[in-house]
Amino acid sequence: MSIQTVRIYENRYADSVTLMGIADAVKKNDGVLFAEVQMATPANLEVIRGLGFNVPPEASPNDLVVAIAARDEAALKSAEQDAIDRLDRKRGEDGETFNSIDDVDAADGWNLCQISLPSEYVAEEAKKAIGKGMDVFIFSDNVSIEDELELKRLGEERGVLVMGPDCGVGMLDGVSLATMSLVGGGPVGIVGASGSGAQEVACIVEKAGSGISALIGTGGRDLYPQIGGLTMIKGMKRLDADGATKVIVLVSKLADRGVMKKVLDEADKLSKPAVAIFLGADEELFANRKTVASFSLEEAALKALALCGIDCGGFAFGKSKIDSLVGREMQKFDASQKYIRGVYCGGTFAEETLIFLNKNNPGADLRCNLKTRYAARLADSWKSEAHSIVDMGAEEFTLDAPHPVFDPELRLKRFRQEASDPEVAVILLDFITAPGVHENPILPFAKACAKAISDRKGKLSVVASICGSKNDPQDIVRCARELEDAGVILAASNYQSAQLASAFMKSLDERR
């Protein structure tokens, strides 16, 4: 026998992560059988109704719903009070709060507004912040491109930066924003339309012994023709005027050619040297330009450091090192082992690998779950064929599960699937660390790699790279050691991983 209550709090909002934490705490009260604290969206209400709760029909998506089932009246009342207390505490805790952005006085020094609201509410709040002269960092995605253009034009008028929408990483004034790695300080300033690409450049700069002055994220659509690179251009000008920045790196996936040219035209006018990487771009794009061309994320980082006068001669892989490593591993494989398999969590890293393999292994049977010009499409994303590169962050994998940077479970399963395929010789893995991602994304893989290599009696090679900072909470130095102890070949960048993959593919294909 149990009793239950459903309470609707009208016009009240808290983010889903906070609400899940409150529900979990309420469930721990004595006598509580079930507790759910959610925004009253139709999908959430359907779940709550499905559990037998009688939800009032007038509940709207702007309301907050608390549903609790308990053994008796006393337990129910106590749990309900606990939920209310926690909701009220969350609203007022940890220092200063405002009831609305309208109450913020920029004259008090508030200079950045970070927004991670449901997409339909983003533009209105961002406009108010821009109107107050604040820079804006928008983590939310699915904001319309029309709203993005309007916000960025407003930003131009007010002289402020509009980073995003869909901006995952940033670093200003030495402060890591959203899911940015805690990269140390130095002379390289980065403007990135590809979040993980920009983060990889920053992390390579740190691994090579230097650091960054800032990372300005633009959001993934900034180089679309409709937006025309507004934030990338404004960002590079901001860095040009910044005393701590000596060289500027522009990072993007391949974009509209006209916009890329416009961005490079502006970069050529900067007073400081600039390096650009548009993943997959051709050399002709950079012909007769002052801006230095690069064709991998690693090359962009190392060229930027060279322009700062920092020698990182030992960082890049030489051909002899690749040949000796691959030669050593190839001796382990049986004749039945024919393929490499990439199981990626970073879409940009999967793409960087595909671009390199497509260019350096012409004619190879390369497949991918993404629709891309660089490989044939897998018939079934859940099952690899031939040489395959799989982006586990793609929509088909994240519809029913969290993105692999937030929960590694599904990617671990796929790793085990590939490792148990007798035709597989080499598996490629990437890892991303930062304060905002999974707290332990690497060690479960180190264990799984050790087991897989042991189960295959050593006849399996795993190549991995970590995009992260030594200052990140995941302790990448320890993680790297655990991977190497497990028998994993650890590359210093995704590009080096791709170079090894290419050499493996060539050797495996020639042997057949």
Binding site: K90, E96, Q114, S116, A178, D242, P435
Partner: protein, 56 residues
């Protein structure tokens, strides 16, 4: 190694609207942060606003 940072002259002061975890991450880095107790705009408010827009 050089430790200078961008925008030194204007120390970052952040207003956070949305995920409270982001505000906590900034506080851990020693940044001054204020959280907005954001509420979705009432549907009625927008209806009244539209009426006013028509009238004015």
């Amino acid at each position: 190694m050089e430790k200078k940072r961008c925008c030194k002259v204007r120390r970052l002061k952040v207003v956070n609207i949305g995920l409270q975890g982001f505000a906590e991450s900034l506080r851990k880095q020693g940044v001054k942060v204020a959280q907005v107790n954001w509420r979705p705009p009432r549907k009625l408010d927008s209806e009244i606003k539209n009426l006013l827009d028509e009238l004015l």
